[in-house]
């Protein structure tokens, strides 16, 4: 009734392997794109940009990156914070060293640099797996934070140890620095997210995605049927690093404007992105979006309802957030390891049959 699928058959393999084989889904996707690109920029204000939309867009990119590594390829990483820092500091060095080059290029190159770094830290995955690998990535996390704190070259020898994003423009509009308008911040992130999403979707739907999933599900069998585990794992690390690096670069230059590595890119960040993909759904691009949206909205919601509405103090709201997040992680791991994405799929199934129960 609401969600018409019957009569919508694919007649070619090409049609069957589309991202949105059902027309309704496809039109909805286009509608969202139109709204995002053509409507929001005109109605957005500073609060929504800074509190909700820009962090959502940036974290979604990071979540996509981490999901590729953890959800699709099964290599657990707790170094996301440190890797985002690599993206941020790479972007900073590039921006200050090559001020004439467009920031868009800097962000992409930062992604590339991060990809290389993450691949190096991913080398142990050839010998250790699962939980032990997660612990190895913690080494990366702590080491990277220390590196950016201690080695003055990274923050251009500034006395405070902080890095500041210089003003940069794209097509004449400011995108970094304190005078940037809300819609400009939003647009640059939206563009990167859209491209990232499309690229990630393409890579996970074909042979590469299958190699990753095969390694995740049973790496020994995968190797015996012909998957080169070295290439598969390292490619997952590299591509994951690319997205996470871009996310870090944008996080620093567009969102924060200034940062000091210790507080912002610590292990809490790694857990945050991990929670996004667990709640959103491991192994699902849509899940990365859903999880990022959830984790960005939750504190905002709690703050508005509890502190603004009921007059509680912020510390209490923060504690409650921890309680809720922790409980949700556990609930999702027990009941629905495929997260919101799976819940959404199940809801669609029910919608198909509604009002019948089965």
């Amino acid at each position: 009734m609401l969600y018409r699928e019957s009569g919508d058959f694919s007649e070619t393999y090409k049609a069957d392997s589309q991202t949105f084989p059902i027309k309704f889904d496809r039109y909805r996707y286009y509608a969202v794109l139109v709204f995002a690109f053509l409507v929001i920029p005109f109605i957005i204000n500073d609060y929504w940009a800074n509190a909700v939309l820009v962090p959502f867009l940036i974290y979604a990119i990071a979540a996509i990156g981490l999901n590729i590594l953890v959800g699709y390829c099964g290599q657990v990483s707790l170094g996301t914070g440190g890797f985002m820092a690599v993206g941020a500091y790479a972007c900073y060095k590039l921006m200050t060293a090559f001020p004439e080059v467009s920031i868009m290029i800097h962000v992409v190159v930062s992604g590339g640099i991060t990809a290389a770094v993450v691949t190096i830290f991913g080398l142990p995955s050839l010998r250790i797996k699962g939980f032990y690998l997660a612990v190895a990535t913690l080494a990366a996390q702590f080491f990277l934070v220390w590196l950016f704190n201690r080695v003055a070259w990274f923050y251009n020898y500034s006395a405070s140890g902080q890095i500041n994003a210089p003003d940069r423009t794209v097509f004449g509009h400011l995108v970094t620095g304190p005078n940037t308008e809300a819609w400009a911040k939003y647009m640059i992130c939206l563009v990167f997210l859209t491209v990232a999403g499309i690229l990630a979707r393409n890579m996970t739907r074909g042979a590469l995605g299958r190699k990753w999933s095969a390694i995740r599900d049973m790496d020994i069998a995968a190797e015996i049927i012909g998957v080169n585990p070295l290439m598969a794992k390292l490619s997952a690390f590299a591509i994951s690093g690319f997205f996470i690096g871009i996310s870090g670069a944008l996080f620093f230059s567009v969102y924060l404007g200034a940062t000091e590595v210790g507080e912002v890119f610590g292990i809490q960040k790694s857990f945050l992105v991990l929670f996004m993909i667990i709640i959103g759904g491991l192994g699902s691009i849509f899940g990365s979006f859903a999880g990022a949206a959830f984790m960005v909205l939750l504190p905002v919601l709690l703050k508005n309802v509890l502190v603004g509405g009921l007059g509680w103090d912020t510390a209490l709201a923060a504690h409650l957030e921890f309680v809720i997040v922790g409980a949700l992680i556990i609930v999702f791991l027990i009941a629905e390891p495929h997260g919101l994405a799976q819940l959404w799929r199940v809801a669609k199934e029910k919608l198909r049959l509604w009002p019948f129960p089965h």
Partner: protein, 272 residues
């Protein structure tokens, strides 16, 4: 018949070719335990070769040596007339050797279709950049390989479950999907590790039919480990018998069936 060097035609009209693979004096040790002791046998192109023996005889280990998962401490593997250097399992797979596993090794997070598509991974050459762009080379390759996979799915009669996640399938169907994945790779040599394990009579008949069809229609050489003697005697051209890591019999089923050593170790005598 099997002693002659060139190819010949069997009684039921199949062509058996020259020697395709030879195991020469293979010895495999795990620490102090000798799993395979000085075993030699050959496999001819187009034949169905069975490996039988009591549990723990080293049969799966032998298959793992052929797959490249285990590396024998002594001995050589010869493939298509040349000595095979020590290689990784995925390199062995690229030579045209596919296999199924004793305990099902399907990718539980994927659907049947995706699992069988993984069998085509060696034939899919588009690089990361093509994959990221998708339209053009990667999409074309995907569609072509999908067509191949659909033919295999038709052949094994699993169309109705192609989008089902394999974790939801019953055991017999899982085994069939594993066979489909191995077939999708277009192998020259197919290794089957206890393909009938845990099946009832009807399922065994279906599986036997599929194995024979694979050999007949595609000319695929098959090496299988199996415990059901009826199946072994009916399906195979030749049999290798292993016991405690050693070879105690090698020849056509009838010959092996009457071999005293094999009877003592494994087959036993019929009691009234």
């Amino acid at each position: 018949m099997f002693d002659q060097a060139e190819s010949f035609v069997t009684a039921d009209g199949r062509t058996i070719g020259a020697v395709m693979m030879e195991m020469k004096n293979i010895t495999l040790r795990f620490g102090g335990v000798v799993a395979i002791k000085d075993i030699s046998f050959d496999v001819r192109e187009g034949e169905i070769r069975a490996i039988i023996g009591p549990n723990g005889a080293g049969k799966s280990s032998m298959l793992n040596v052929i797959s490249g998962f285990y590396h024998p401490q002594e001995g050589e593997v010869w493939y298509k007339g040349a000595r095979r250097p020590e290689m990784k399992p995925f390199e062995v797979a690229r030579q045209g050797i596919a296999r199924t596993f004793q305990n099902i090794a399907l990718f539980e997070g994927m659907s049947v279709l995706d699992n069988v598509m993984t069998g085509r991974l060696n034939h899919m050459k588009s690089g990361i950049l093509s994959q990221a762009i998708w339209y053009g080379k990667a999409e074309r390759e995907e569609t072509e390989n999908r067509a191949v996979v659909e033919r295999v799915i038709d052949f094994l009669e699993i169309q109705h479950i192609r989008k089902t996640p394999v974790s939801r399938l019953p055991y017999g169907l899982k085994k069939r999907v594993e066979l489909a994945r191995a077939l999708a790779a277009d192998p020259k040599l197919l290794l089957l590790d206890e393909p009938m394990a845990g099946m009832n009579v009807e399922e065994k008949e279906d599986m036997s039919r599929f194995i024979l069809d694979v050999n007949d229609e595609f000319g695929t050489t098959i090496v299988l480990i199996e415990h059901d003697m009826g199946v072994v005697m009916d399906l195979s051209d030749r049999v290798v018998v292993m016991d405690y890591g050693k070879k105690i019999g090698d020849g056509p089923p009838d010959e092996v069936r009457n071999n005293q050593a094999v009877i003592d170790a494994y087959l036993g005598v019929a009691h009234d």
